[in-house]
């Protein structure tokens, strides 16, 4: 059956039903377990007196659960919130704030942040009190603040308010960034500014140092903390960190461009991997300067390639000289040369060089000879070699004719007579 686009009656109710009185609330609460489907049914707006009766009609755990849910999702103003908490206290005879000292609840973390934003709780003040107590008796403070610490931590997460950043500064000042007690500030700080610590190490792709509520000094202070941390804990990633920090033009707000440029130039001077600085070059160099750098780099690369090629050629020639020296007067010199040409996989340039060096050798070998007497097998190999070099356009037709015109077949009988 399809009921107004829904498959089940219950689904229809989830979508359409509004809970208007405590009796309905009570009935539905008893029956239904699918919280996520109907989260709006059970919200308890204590600022509306008709819902206050619920306190005596439903179980306390259920009441608190839906009060927390309500405070989490409803956008109360400061006055409404104060009113709500007063009613809560009136009904339960308990101060709502005591929940932060006594229990752990993910909704309460959101509520704590809301209350802080409304100025109804003061995380920085709480942190100062805690740190004072911690420094005088860590164990006692740990026991007393065990729940509240979690709310303070949750509040600092992301460093999204001035107060949260101030709290992080306080902790760093007193205990340093690496201390895990009383707060694991290292992780909090890195997570908040988007430095990810994955299986390949630190990654700065999402790094964001900008906090609109912070002034220049505040930003610089935060940067210095992270910079010092990177130097000491991850010196191998220090330059990558700087590159990332310099690559965001937003940061010029607190890191003057002129100073940033000097850092860039310093990096350009010492960096082994110049290409990683290209992003920065676009920011800190004029287009002409950047083109000049690129041209200079191209030229340098060109030079480098040339040197490399020369070395390769030198090596090929040296190897060939040794090869030929071994083959000479063995009676199978041309077979050896034919094998030299054929064997091995070589890049085009190397192969070209190998062909060239053989051609040079053949030309010089036949240049001053009127006749060279060879056995039939050697003539065959020489022909194959010459044919190959001719087809590869290494030998000209003239050179080929000159070489072949000077060979003579060795007569076996003649040989025997000698």
């Amino acid at each position: 059956m399809c009921l107004d686009g829904t498959n089940r009656i219950r689904d229809y109710l989830y979508r359409s039903l509004k809970v208007e009185n405590v009796k309905t609330y009570q009935i539905l609460l008893l029956d239904d377990k699918w919280d996520s489907m109907h989260s709006n049914w059970f919200l308890i707006d204590l600022t509306d007196s008709k819902w206050q009766e619920l306190y005596s009609l439903i179980e306390r755990d259920s009441f608190d659960k839906w009060v927390f849910e309500t405070l989490k999702v409803k956008p109360y103003t400061k006055n409404q919130m104060e009113r709500y908490l007063q009613v809560y206290q009136g009904l339960t005879n308990e101060d709502f704030y005591q929940h932060f000292w006594k229990r752990e609840d993910s909704n309460l973390k959101v509520i704590f942040r809301k209350l802080a934003d409304l100025g109804l709780v003061h995380p920085l003040g709480l942190l100062k009190s805690y740190l004072e107590e911690y420094q005088s008796n860590a164990d006692e403070a740990g026991k007393k603040w065990i729940m509240m610490i979690q709310y303070l931590e949750a509040y600092m997460d992301g460093l999204e308010t001035m107060e949260a950043v101030e709290m992080a500064f306080q902790i760093e000042k007193l205990f340093g960034i690496l201390s895990r007690e009383p707060f694991p500030i290292e992780k909090l700080l890195l997570d908040s500014i988007g430095i990810e610590n994955g299986y390949r190490g630190l990654h700065f792709g999402s790094m964001d140092l900008i906090r609109p509520f912070l002034d220049i000094k505040g930003h610089q202070q935060m940067f210095c903390i992270v910079e010092q941390y990177m130097l000491k804990m991850h010196p191998d990633k220090y330059i990558s960190f700087l590159i990332k920090a310099l690559s965001s033009e937003d940061n010029f707000f607190w890191f003057p461009k002129e100073e940033a440029r000097k850092v860039f130039l310093k990096l350009a001077e010492i960096s082994k991997n110049q290409s990683e600085l290209d992003g920065l070059r676009r920011i800190y160099l004029t287009e002409e300067d950047f083109e000049a750098v690129k041209a200079e780099r191209r030229e340098r690369e060109q030079r480098h390639l040339l040197v490399k090629q020369r070395k390769k050629t030198r090596d090929i020639r040296k190897d060939f000289s040794l090869y030929v020296a071994k083959a000479r007067k063995t009676g199978c010199q041309f077979e050896t040369l034919w094998n030299y040409v054929q064997n091995g996989m070589h890049d085009w340039k190397s192969q070209k060089e190998r062909n060239y060096i053989i051609k040079r050798y053949l030309c010089s070998l036949f240049r001053n000879k009127t006749q060279i007497i060879l056995e039939k097998k050697e003539i065959e190999n020489l022909c194959k070699l010459v044919q190959f070099l001719f087809s590869e356009e290494e030998l000209t037709f003239f050179e080929m004719r000159e070489i072949l015109g000077r060979i003579e077949l060795k007569e076996e009988k003649l040989d025997e007579a000698v």
Partner: protein
């Protein structure tokens, strides 16, 4: 500081460190300025290669002692030693500034010295380099430092200068002092030169021995006396004996006493072998390099030395020699470790009488096995004074196992006599526990009581602590046999086990006992203790038995015997229950076939009506079962139960319902136990007219049973005869016809396989022969032949002129359908009835060969 300056500074630092080869991992733990300073120094000296060759710890060292960098560069460039060696030195130096405290030459002298191990280089430089040790001393020092490593709680830095000098002493690094040097106080004692010298000498001579704390203390307390004593004693020993002697001497922990005694009892060495020398002279003969040298020298001496003195063979020979040579002439070389330990104990505790017995009966001692009672340490140290043993006890010990740990928990008095331990060693822990609850002052009385209980295996498998105490109290009044004869003598067929169970609840049942008549009634009482607790006497129990016996109701639910019948036979029913009938039949019917319930109903109804024997011997059932016509007179003789008594043996025939039902339980469980016997389905066949049970007692104790069958047999195979029989139903009395006999067959009284309990083999034979005599008489009256099962072959029936021969035994028809025939292959079913089972049996000689009788 501006951001740029800060970052530029950091970049410069990283560059500088990289150029210098200083690991950037150090940034985590060290200040930037320190690292920058070190890196700059390295770069100025162009020493990156040297830094890279160093371990991380060495570079860390350089951070606080940058002056050493120049030493390092020089050391490496002059190739003084391996870079790793320098790294270890620097790592060990830690906070010490070597460049300030030592000259380059001093450091070179240590690093270049190959005798100084790398990981000892710093300690050596710090404490010993200035002493200019010679090579041997350096070697001892390295060993001494290694030994010191094992001390754990303190190190070389904790020692005083004087104490540290002892590290060069050979003794300190030897096994001899390895345990002692762990005690910090011991180091102070080494400052006494005589003590130190004595230990050094001993460490050379005592190969493989580790000095104990007690011995070290005695050496300390009596250094001079011991030194003098050793000089005197060692002078009388050949070189090859010395090491073994010192090990045994130290092990005995009576150093001064032993030396004083040995000085006098050891004879002088003859002149030709005497190398008479003090200990120091002996030591000085040894090459000081190694302990091995000492042993080599000893083995050299072995070949040439006098072997006259053998007391250093082992601990026992040593102690025996020392304590007067009580085992003189006995070869103590091949004793087991446990035998040796016992003799060592005896020698050291002056158990002279025991040692004399061992010496005189040495073979009886050497056969004692590893787990023998006497070789158990607890036995001779706590439970038994070995001096009280006599030669027979030593002989008996061969077969006595040591007392189990479980039993030892209950042994609470020391010492025990050998007879007590002899009994307890073999007894189950329950009896050991009970033994210790007996209050007789005399051991013999206790033993008599427990022997009786253990011999009869009277105790139930599980007993609570208070039950042991209770039984102990009861048996402390009189032994179980006296309880049985005096207080329970009137109860027929009561077992020792039942008597024990009664004693456990004596207070609850005492008032009822005078009227209890049978063992079955005892079981009834024990089972219904709760229900009878307020009943004044047994007669009242009997009167109320229908109410008390809850099993009857359950049984009759199965049997379905009518209320009218039960009302008419109320007395019979009470007697049936009184004798335990309901318990027996309810257990029997727990897992049998439906047809068996009907058979049981007929038998129970007959018993309750007092007509059981009429049913068993109903009309001509006997003739029909064996398909043989029998004169009435013979049948009457068969029905009549006979009894016989010969010496302590009493025998009687049994054909009543309930006693026969219990044949599978009365002498221990057998396969036809009414409770859970594998062949309990055959049990009701015992109520066939041709079957009875022969029971026997020895000295009043139920000891024997065997089934007897009146049947027929032949010497040749006979044709099969078929006839189906069933128990008579007294409620519908009618039976039919009979059958003709067979002239080729012999009426046979067959004695089946025997079952015994609690008597020796000799007594079993006595019982069997009495039974055979009795049955021969019965067979004669019946004009039948007595044939005895082959199971009796071990009882010497030849004495009674029986011989073993093949015989065809008739398998009679059974009203039960199934019967269990031990001698004819176990269970026989209806299909086998009427056939002849072939087998070997004992037959009278005269039956087999009538001429023999005439002769």
């Amino acid at each position: 500081m501006r951001l740029y300056d800060k970052i530029a500074g950091h970049l410069a630092l990283l560059q500088e460190m990289k150029k210098a080869g200083v690991s950037d991992a150090l940034l985590k733990d060290y200040k930037e300025e320190e690292l920058l300073g070190l890196s700059q120094s390295v770069n100025q000296m162009d020493a990156k290669e040297e830094i890279l060759s160093m371990e991380t710890e060495a570079v860390e060292y350089l951070i606080h002692d940058q002056e050493f960098l120049s030493y390092l560069v020089r050391l490496l460039r002059e190739d003084i030693c391996d870079p790793v060696r320098i790294s270890i030195l620097l790592a060990d130096a830690g906070g010490d500034a070597l460049s300030k405290n030592y000259s380059y030459e001093e450091i070179v002298s240590v690093l270049a010295d190959e005798q100084v191990k790398s990981y000892r280089a710093y300690i050596y430089l710090k404490y010993f380099a200035a002493q200019l040790l010679h090579e041997a001393e350096k070697e001892y020092l390295m060993d001494g430092l290694a030994a010191l490593d094992q001390c754990g709680s303190f190190s070389v830095d904790d020692l005083t200068d004087t104490e540290r000098k002892h590290l060069i002493e050979p003794a300190v690094s030897s096994i001899f002092l390895q345990e002692r040097i762990k005690d910090r106080r011991f180091w102070r004692k080494l400052e006494n030169p005589s003590y130190c010298a004595l230990l050094n000498d001993l460490s050379f001579l005592c190969e493989g021995v580790s000095l104990g704390a007690d011995q070290a203390e005695e050496l300390w307390q009596h250094t001079a006396e011991i030194q003098e004593g050793l000089d005197a004693v060692l002078r009388k020993l050949p070189g090859y004996e010395m090491g073994k002697f010192l090990a045994l001497w130290l092990d005995n922990k009576a150093l001064v006493y032993d030396l004083n005694r040995l000085k006098y009892i050891l004879p002088e060495l003859p002149h030709e072998t005497a190398k008479g020398a003090t200990m120091q002279e002996k030591v000085s003969e040894l090459p000081h390099e190694t302990m091995q040298g000492a042993s080599e020298m000893q083995s050299d001496l072995d070949e040439h030395s006098d072997r006259r003195v053998k007391f250093t063979e082992n601990q026992l020979t040593y102690l025996n020699f020392l304590y007067g040579d009580l085992l003189n002439g006995v070869d103590l070389s091949y004793l087991s470790e446990r035998q040796m330990k016992l003799l060592v104990y005896a020698v050291t505790h002056k158990k002279k009488h025991f040692l004399t017995i061992v010496k005189e009966h040495f073979e009886d001692f050497t056969v004692l096995q590893r787990f023998a009672l006497l070789l158990d340490t607890d036995t001779y140290e706590h439970y038994l004074n070995v001096n009280t043993l006599n030669p027979q006890n030593l002989k008996d010990s061969r077969h006595l196992p040591k007392i189990s740990d479980e039993c030892k928990c209950y042994l609470n008095k020391e010492p025990y006599t050998f007879d007590e331990l002899k009994l307890l060693a073999k007894a189950d822990s329950r009896y050991v526990r009970l033994y210790h609850m007996l209050a007789y002052p005399k051991v013999d009385d206790r033993l008599r009581v427990i022997r009786e209980v253990a011999g009869r295996k009277c105790l139930p498998q599980k007993m609570e602590e208070e039950q042991y105490a209770k039984l102990g109290r009861m048996l402390s009044k009189k032994p179980i046999s006296k309880w049985l004869s005096e207080d329970m003598g009137h109860i027929r067929r009561i077992s020792y086990q039942q008597a024990v169970l009664l004693l456990l609840v004596w207070d609850q049942v005492q008032r009822l006992i005078p009227d209890v008549r049978t063992g079955i009634q005892v079981d009834f009482l024990l089972k219904n203790l709760k229900k009878i607790e307020n009943i004044p006497d047994f007669q009242t129990v009997a009167d109320q038995i229908l109410e008390i016996d809850s099993t009857w109701k359950k049984l009759n639910d199965l049997l379905k015997i009518g209320e009218d019948f039960l009302r008419e036979n109320q007395e019979g029913l009470k007697n049936f229950l009184y004798e335990g009938g309901s318990e027996i039949f309810y257990a029997f019917l727990s897992d049998v076939e439906e047809a068996d319930k009907e058979k049981a109903r007929r038998l129970c109804a007959a018993e309750i009506a007092g007509r059981f024997l009429d049913v068993k011997y109903y009309k001509n059932d006997l003739e029909r079962e064996i398909t043989l016509e029998l004169p009435e007179e013979i049948q009457q003789f068969w029905r009549k139960n006979t009894e016989a008594k010969k010496g302590k043996v009493r025998l009687w025939e049994e054909d009543r319902l309930l006693p026969v039902m219990q044949i599978g339980e009365s002498l221990g469980k057998t396969c036809i136990s009414y409770r859970n016997g594998l062949y309990k389905a055959c049990l009701l066949s015992c109520f066939d007219a041709n079957k009875k049970v022969l029971y026997g007692s020895y000295n009043g104790q139920f000891a024997f049973r065997a089934i007897i069958r009146l049947t027929k047999g032949a010497f040749s195979k006979m044709p099969v005869e078929k006839q189906r029989l069933q128990f008579a139903d007294i409620l519908e009395e009618e039976m039919t016809e009979c059958r003709e006999g067979n002239q080729q067959e012999y009426l046979t009284l067959f004695l089946e396989r025997p079952y015994f309990k609690g008597i020796s083999e000799e007594k079993e034979k006595e019982v069997v022969l009495a039974a055979v005599e009795m049955l021969l008489r019965k067979a004669k009256q019946l004009h039948a032949e007595l044939v005895v099962s082959n199971s009796y072959k071990r009882f010497g029936l030849e004495e009674k002129k029986f011989i073993r021969a093949k015989y065809y035994m008739y398998i009679s028809a059974s009203k039960n359908g199934k019967q269990y025939l031990d001698s004819l292959g176990g269970m026989a079913e209806v299909s086998s009835e009427g056939s002849y089972g072939e087998g070997y049996f004992f037959l009278r000689e005269s039956f087999l060969n009538p001429k023999t009788d005439k002769q």
